[in-house]
């Protein structure tokens, strides 16, 4: 895919677009004076974190903004030289679906649940008068085959909920390319997907673009996805374009402070072994030893069907020493979160032992369990979900003391909450606020403060930074690393994102379908992954496009040498 030839005029031009959302009294500006264009065969990436207004401008292109509450204050949108900003009704239908198509982040919600996928694809041919009946069905099957749905002639009659997440996105793509549009807008198309599936979807988009020569606008918050796809990039922050240019220039020499911050925060950005935040303490005594941990689910099919079993976790062994961070890495369904839930006795294991301070967690009685739960704490993925929205920060952090009466006398709670807030880098004056008044990163700091309140030995972090924006992820990891050094904590850090633990974990366990497929020291895993699955995880991390042109299929280790 070559960048645009300079002679042709751009396919889509957006000039000076400003969109408000009306609310009580004063309107809220979603995008402010945004201009961009895209040409045939070109990929433009709109990069921004949540709330940056990156989806709004493309919604305006498709006339998907409801007015009110939306309000397009100013702006010119032209497609193929003709203005399309004000098109409604029939003229709009000549554009939407035919010339410009769109795919969305969450295909389960964006596909109509009560119709078969076939009906939803056929509909496009029918409503644009291209084909109907048998011919439309044949063409739909062909489309499904093209986007890589196996057995398309039977699956065409299935409903969206019968497809996997990645397949649903393929169905969305099939719908979008049905009429060979000139422009495809993809709004966070891979965000909800596992890395390996993400790579496949991005490959598919790239191939389709090569075949049809369509223009592609990709909206994403993910720097690596952006780098792997973009010819040109615009970076948005708070509704404004802060930087725009050729992808390579923007990624390698960002000019705007915000872009610099984004790119420096990228955990994969610097691969030098020196910049790591790993523990400096050499191996101490064993804190937790897990042996043959197994979780089996039984389910029966039908009323008298025979019982079937499914092993979510199968014979998992690992141990963790004082002051050490163990990374557990795996995609969804790997059983990594089940391990965490069992270690906290939130679900009961089928078999296995977990020795903590000389005692098996799984055979503790209520009293012993209570004492154990003081010493092991958990930090959850979604800091908002893990806190009761009706409790103030003070009530949240002091809850462990209310549960375990012997930790701290009530008179000292207030002072200690202030100390903990300062320790995690929050303003102690905010003790009376509620979780919704904080940002995602701040909430995760509160969750960490709560975990520290009962003075634990071990903290289990389940996807603790996955829900956060990239720039915040690094800050939270820094905080965790700092606390480990100061308080002598141990961590089990569970994540789906292998590179994120690179500079934090001392040892890594890679899980797949409930089993450990590889474990070892972090540097060994990254330098020399043995198991094919680990290799594929490393490879699945997208490669910058300007490099991929030169080296089409870099191996895991080759990728390692690249700097972003």
């Amino acid at each position: 895919m070559s960048p645009t030839s300079k002679s042709t005029s751009p396919l889509l031009t957006v000039e000076n677009l400003t969109v408000d959302f009306l609310s009580d009294e004063s309107p809220v500006r979603a995008v402010n004076a945004v201009s961009f264009d895209v040409s045939r065969g070109e990929t433009l990436v709109i990069l921004g974190e949540s709330g940056s207004g990156k989806s709004v401008s493309t919604s305006a292109v498709m006339d998907l903004i409801d007015q009110p509450p939306g309000d397009i204050v100013s702006g010119r949108i032209s497609f193929d030289g003709a203005p399309i900003g004000n098109l409604r009704g029939e003229p709009r239908r000549l554009i939407n679906g035919q010339k410009i198509a769109m795919i969305f982040q969450d295909p389960l919600a964006y596909l109509n649940p009560v119709y078969t996928v076939g009906r939803q694809i056929v509909e496009i041919f029918a409503c644009h008068g291209v084909a109907s009946g048998k011919e439309a069905r044949e063409r739909s099957i062909e489309l499904l085959r093209r986007v890589g749905i196996p057995e398309p002639d039977t699956r065409i009659d299935q409903y969206p909920h019968q497809f996997s997440g990645g397949q649903r996105q393929r169905v969305m793509i099939a719908m979008a390319i049905a009429l060979k549009p000139d422009l495809l807008i993809a709004d966070e198309p891979t965000t909800a997907l596992d890395v390996s599936v993400q790579a496949q979807i991005l490959d598919l988009l790239r191939d389709l673009q090569n075949e049809t020569g369509m223009a592609l606008i990709l909206i994403t918050h993910d720097l690596e996805v952006a780098a792997s796809m973009a010819d040109r990039v615009i970076v948005m922050n708070r509704g404004e374009i802060v930087e725009a240019g050729v992808a390579r220039d923007v990624f390698t020499s960002p000019r705007h402070a915000y872009t610099k911050k984004l790119i420096s925060a990228l955990p994969h950005g610097d691969t030098a072994e020196g910049g790591n935040r790993r523990s400096t303490i050499p191996s101490g005594e064993t804190v937790l030893k897990v042996e043959n941990l197994t979780k089996e689910y039984l389910f029966s099919q039908g009323l008298f069907g025979k019982k079937q079993s499914f092993r979510a976790v199968n014979d998992v062994n690992f141990e963790i020493r004082k002051g050490e961070t163990l990374g557990i890495v795996g995609e969804s369904g790997s059983g990594k979160s089940s391990v965490a839930r069992m270690l906290l006795r939130l679900t009961e294991p089928t078999a296995g032992r977990a020795i903590f301070a000389g005692e098996d967690i799984f055979s503790m009685n209520q009293a012993r369990l209570l004492a154990f739960r003081r010493k092991v704490q958990m930090v959850f993925q979604d800091p908002y979900g893990s806190m009761n929205p009706r409790m103030s920060v003070h009530a949240i952090i002091s809850e462990p003391w209310a549960i375990h009466g012997d930790i701290l006398p009530q008179a000292r709670w207030k002072d200690r909450v202030v100390e903990l807030l300062e320790l995690v880098g929050l303003n102690p004056e905010h003790v009376d606020r509620y979780p919704h008044q904080f940002s995602g990163g701040q909430r995760q700091r509160i969750a960490i403060a709560r975990a520290l309140a009962s003075e634990p030995d071990l903290i289990i972090c389940d996807e603790a930074v996955s829900a956060l924006d990239v720039s915040i992820q690094a800050q939270i990891i820094d905080l965790l690393a700092d606390l480990r050094t100061r308080l002598g904590l141990s961590y089990i850090f569970i994540t789906h994102d292998l590179p994120i633990v690179r500079h934090f974990a001392d040892r890594i366990v890679v899980m797949k379908q409930g089993e450990i497929v590889e474990d070892g020291s972090t540097s060994a895993i990254f330098a020399n992954p043995v198991h094919p699955y680990t290799q594929s995880l490393l490879e699945a991390t997208p490669v910058p496009k300007w490099m991929a042109v030169r080296a089409p299929r870099p191996t895991g280790r080759a990728r390692d040498a690249l700097t972003l």
Partner: protein
């Protein structure tokens, strides 16, 4: 787009009352409903001590007095019944009974339904099953018939009326609470509390109940209208409140025989029932729009950027 709105509009806690007031002002019907309900509450609380005696005062000269006559005292403005008792005074006293019974019934059903729902939702023991089956039995049968049968066997009285009304409405709260608890107990803050060592009692009382309460109060507000209607129907059929006590529904029943020559005896109490339940429904319909972040803008004064 809605995701975006919630992303960027972080409303400050202060001025919440002002926001409510502004949104209420925009919906004239809801505003009228609030005013009517306020007047009704004032009349119910202050009325009986002032004009309560008049409600039972027989007046031979005012028998079947037609409404809108200015020759008599203002209290006869809406007319008088067959015994010459002023309708206005009877409406006020009837309001006290009607609203009092409805309030007691709603409170009882909300408390029992809520508590049973918390138990049925959080516990997986045998009694949780029993509670649910019981609710199913009550739910699966038309409430008015059930109430009729129970009142038929227990005998009509104010206490029995409250018990029966509460009993037939209770499953609504039970099911809602249970459904909410089932959802809430999977939420991460509950897992977090368990992993900190919190006892089941603490989790239910501190973490789950406070989050269920707003939903229950919303249902209760709407249910108030339903219960008023149910009570009126029972009293209309003669199995509700018994003389000498009376409610609006009983007043309608009393006037039924005099439709041809004194329509007002039945008409006014029915109209007041309608206005009360309509106000409650208007208000809860407004509250639904207000509580929905996707729809709330409809109630706000939207000012566009000048261009």
């Amino acid at each position: 787009m809605t995701a975006l709105i919630s992303d960027i509009t972080v409303s400050p806690r202060t001025g919440k009352l002002r926001t409510i007031w502004n949104c209420l002002k925009r919906d004239k019907l809801a505003l009228a409903a609030v005013i009517f309900l306020l007047l009704l509450v004032i009349a119910t609380l202050a009325g009986p001590p002032l004009i309560g005696d008049l409600a039972t005062k027989l007046g031979l000269r005012q028998r079947n007095l037609a409404p809108f006559s200015f020759q008599h005292d203002w209290i006869y403005f809406l007319g008088a019944d067959t015994l010459g008792r002023p309708i206005i005074a009877r409406l006020v006293v009837g309001a006290q009974n009607t609203l009092g019974i409805a309030f007691a019934a709603v409170l009882c059903s909300m408390l029992t339904g809520g508590i049973l729902g918390l138990i049925a939702g959080y516990s997986e023991r045998w009694y949780s099953q029993i509670i649910q089956r019981l609710a199913d039995v009550v739910m699966s049968f038309p409430s008015l018939l059930l109430a009729l049968i129970v009142l038929y066997t227990l005998g009509p009285s104010i206490t029995n009326l409250v018990i029966v009304l509460a009993f037939t409405r209770m499953p609504i709260y039970l099911r809602t609470t249970r459904a909410e608890v089932l959802e809430l107990r999977e939420r991460m803050f509950v897992s977090a509390a368990i992993s900190m060592g919190a006892s089941p009692l603490r989790i239910v009382v501190r973490h789950i109940a406070p989050l269920v309460l707003p939903t229950l109060l919303t249902i209760a507000a709407l249910d108030f209208a339903t219960v008023i209607l149910a009570e009126s129907s029972l009293s209309f059929l003669g199995l509700g409140i018994q003389p000498p006590d009376f409610t609006w529904g009983a007043m309608v029943a009393n006037g039924r025989g005099y439709l041809a020559n004194a329509w007002w005896i039945s008409f006014w109490p029915g109209l007041v029932i309608l206005l009360t339940t309509l106000s409650l429904n208007l208000l809860s319909s407004w509250a639904r729009t207000f509580a929905d972040p996707q729809q709330r803008w409809r109630l706000q004064s939207l000012r566009k950027t000048p261009r």
